[in-house]
């Protein structure tokens, strides 16, 4: 990887410092019992959703490949990790590793043939694969069939969640800022021009797809070991839509946007629990309103606190042709 990013040492230290402070603060709040269970659960949801949104954003936002099968990879990760921890009784780290590997492998197997497709055809193909994963899981008795697996030990703790989010962000942001990242973005901007410039577009598309899938697998592992039960139905195409909503709401191609949107959506969902009757109507109206008045998402394609990202790219789905 070329070293093109100018890391200012001071800034780096400050950033790490902020992370440490956040981590310790929350850890303190949890161990001192100041953060009640409700907040803890929502915090876990937020972290998991951040990982999902940021990783899908790599595929949809930065690479410009519309994928609607993210929940499928999450399912692969969830099941792989639970097989390791619950069935084989191996430590959580093995489960996480298995989840990442299995999901990345699934991403590779699915990505290589389908990424030749474009636009909406790719979307439907990935959606199809996501559903196939679900149907297959539903038919495997070893993992509980439609009932899924119940009674998974709670291994996802705040340190795991925090570390996973940080690793996801660091890996994906660095990937985007590397020469690989520029190749990936060039695919989105203009696939033909990129190809003409000697970029092996298939390779970079598959790379982004595999990395995205891998982190979805990680999110799946964290999910399974926090929420006690997994079943195929949890990972249906509507779940993929939920993740896509976060990405688009945050702004395609904005990692900070994806993070913010993941937090927004999770908190919004939780807040609407108390309005059972109109909950989904409100959610839908907010979704439509945001899209009408801010179609580029909350952040557009800018990053919070990083000007350099600014002006580069135009909108991506608008100018196909």
């Amino acid at each position: 990887m070329q070293k093109t990013r100018h890391i200012k040492p001071v800034r780096f230290i400050v950033e790490v410092g902020i992370l440490v402070v956040i981590f310790t603060l929350v850890q303190y709040l949890i161990s001192a019992g100041l953060l009640n269970q409700y907040y803890q659960i929502n915090l876990a949801s937020i972290c998991i959703n951040i990982i999902l949104a940021v990783s899908l954003n790599l595929i949809n936002g930065f690479t410009g490949q519309l994928s609607l099968g993210h929940a499928g990879f999450m399912a692969v990760g969830a099941y792989a990790s639970v097989i390791m921890t619950n069935y084989m009784e191996l430590p959580f780290i093995v489960g996480i590793a298995a989840a990442c590997l299995a999901a990345a492998l699934a991403g590779f197997i699915i990505g290589v043939p389908t990424l030749r497709l474009r636009g909406d055809y790719l979307a439907i193909a990935t959606l199809g694969f996501g559903e196939i994963i679900r149907v297959v899981l539903q038919n495997i008795d070893y993992v509980g069939g439609p009932a899924g697996i119940m009674g998974i030990s709670k291994m996802t703790t705040w340190p795991w969640l925090f570390a996973s989010v940080v690793v996801t962000l660091v890996v994906i942001v660095n990937l985007i800022n590397s020469s690989y990242g520029r190749a990936i973005i060039s695919v989105r901007e203009d696939e033909i021009a990129a190809e003409l410039m000697g970029v092996n577009t298939t390779k970079y598309k598959v790379l982004a797809f595999v990395v995205g899938a891998m982190f979805a697998g990680l999110a799946g592992a964290l999910y399974a070991h926090y929420f006690y039960i997994i079943k195929p139905e949890t990972f249906n195409f509507l779940k993929s839509f939920d993740i896509l909503v976060m990405v688009v709401l945050g702004g395609l191609g904005s990692t900070t946007g994806a993070v913010i949107a993941a937090i927004f959506i999770t908190v919004l969902t939780a807040a609407l629990q108390s309005f059972p009757a109109i909950r989904m109507i409100l959610y839908a109206v907010i979704l439509i309103m945001v899209m009408i008045y801010r179609p580029q998402g909350l952040m557009g394609n800018r990053e919070l606190g990083r000007r350099t990202f600014g002006k580069v790219f135009g909108s991506l789905w608008g100018e196909e042709k």
Partner: protein
């Protein structure tokens, strides 16, 4: 052999319903490149309007269907004006999310007003008689669904191929700017497309109500998805493609349940779709336009 023929009969009427829904998907896509995920829910609204027409107003089934089609045509136009039109010049993925929003809105507004419980089409709405032809069981429902779907498709073909409106629709879907320069009212044409597509969905909704008797606010999700698959299968944006795609989907599903395992039916449907896309990336009827730079 007899079983096979019976399965084909089953598949054809299922396919007719898919085809009707797929047509709306494909028309909307052809004209504004939007995957209208709310389309299945418009079908659901159609089914409900048909239900109220039959059960409350006591109309006969054809009046109910006409009423549902008209109301949904209006609904489709309103949705287009309110939710999609402001997004016509922004990214397509934003429009897609809006469509998901509209879909949720329709589902849950219906749940809010009419509860999530299913409703039952009154049996007298459509008296069923079974015909036995050469050992096959044909019900009047099968015939009704198949015939009215085919009639609607013929009317649609006529509109698209033989009328001025149809010509305008084709022109807009080919090149919006050029059409505008030619003096075609693009907004109006898009509205008409939504109206026709939604009306077809409403007809499909009423058919589902008659065919399966029960309707519920979430009934649109799965057929909507399958019809979308059917549309892509045929080549999205291509009207005959959607018809063929719908029938292929219906027959395929029936055959998989009939001869394979019904548990894998959905997986096989998607599997075939993916294989077809890999061989012919633009669907069965899709033209390979090549890349425009």
């Amino acid at each position: 052999m007899q079983e096979f023929l019976q399965q084909m009969v089953n598949g054809l009427s299922l396919g007719a319903i898919y085809a009707l829904i797929a047509l709306g998907y494909t028309m909307v896509y052809g004209i504004i490149m939007l995957i209208n995920f709310a389309h299945g829910d418009i079908m659901m609204v159609g089914a409900y309007i048909g239900f109220f027409a039959v059960a409350v107003l006591g109309t006969n089934i054809f009046v109910a269907m006409a009423l549902a089609m008209v109301t949904c045509a209006v609904l489709g136009v309103v949705i287009e004006k309110v939710a999609y039109k402001p997004l016509r010049n922004s990214t397509r993925i934003a429009a897609l999310i809006t469509a998901i929003g509209v879909s949720l809105f329709l589902e849950y507004t219906t749940i809010f007003f009419l509860t999530p419980n299913q409703r039952v089409y009154p049996a007298e709405a459509f008296p069923v008689t079974n015909y036995h032809v050469m050992g096959l069981t044909l019900s009047s429902k099968d015939i009704f669904v198949f015939v009215s779907a085919v009639v609607l498709m013929i009317i649609l073909q006529y509109i698209i191929k033989r009328t001025k409106t149809g010509k305008a629709m084709r022109a807009v879907s080919l090149d919006k700017e050029a059409a505008m320069l030619m003096g075609i009212n693009v907004d109006k044409t898009i509205s008409i497309t939504f109206a026709i597509g939604s009306a077809l969905a409403a007809a499909a909704g009423v058919m589902m109500g008659i065919y399966y008797n029960s309707i519920n606010p979430l009934m649109g999700i799965i057929p909507g998805l399958k019809a979308f698959v059917a549309a892509v299968l045929g080549g999205i944006g291509i009207v005959p493609g959607a018809m063929v795609g719908g029938f292929v989907m219906g027959i395929l599903e029936t055959l998989v349940s009939g001869y394979g395992s019904s548990l894998y039916r959905d997986a096989v449907a998607f599997g075939v779709l993916i294989i077809i896309l890999l061989i012919k990336p633009t669907g069965l009827f899709g033209k390979n336009t090549g890349e425009k730079v």
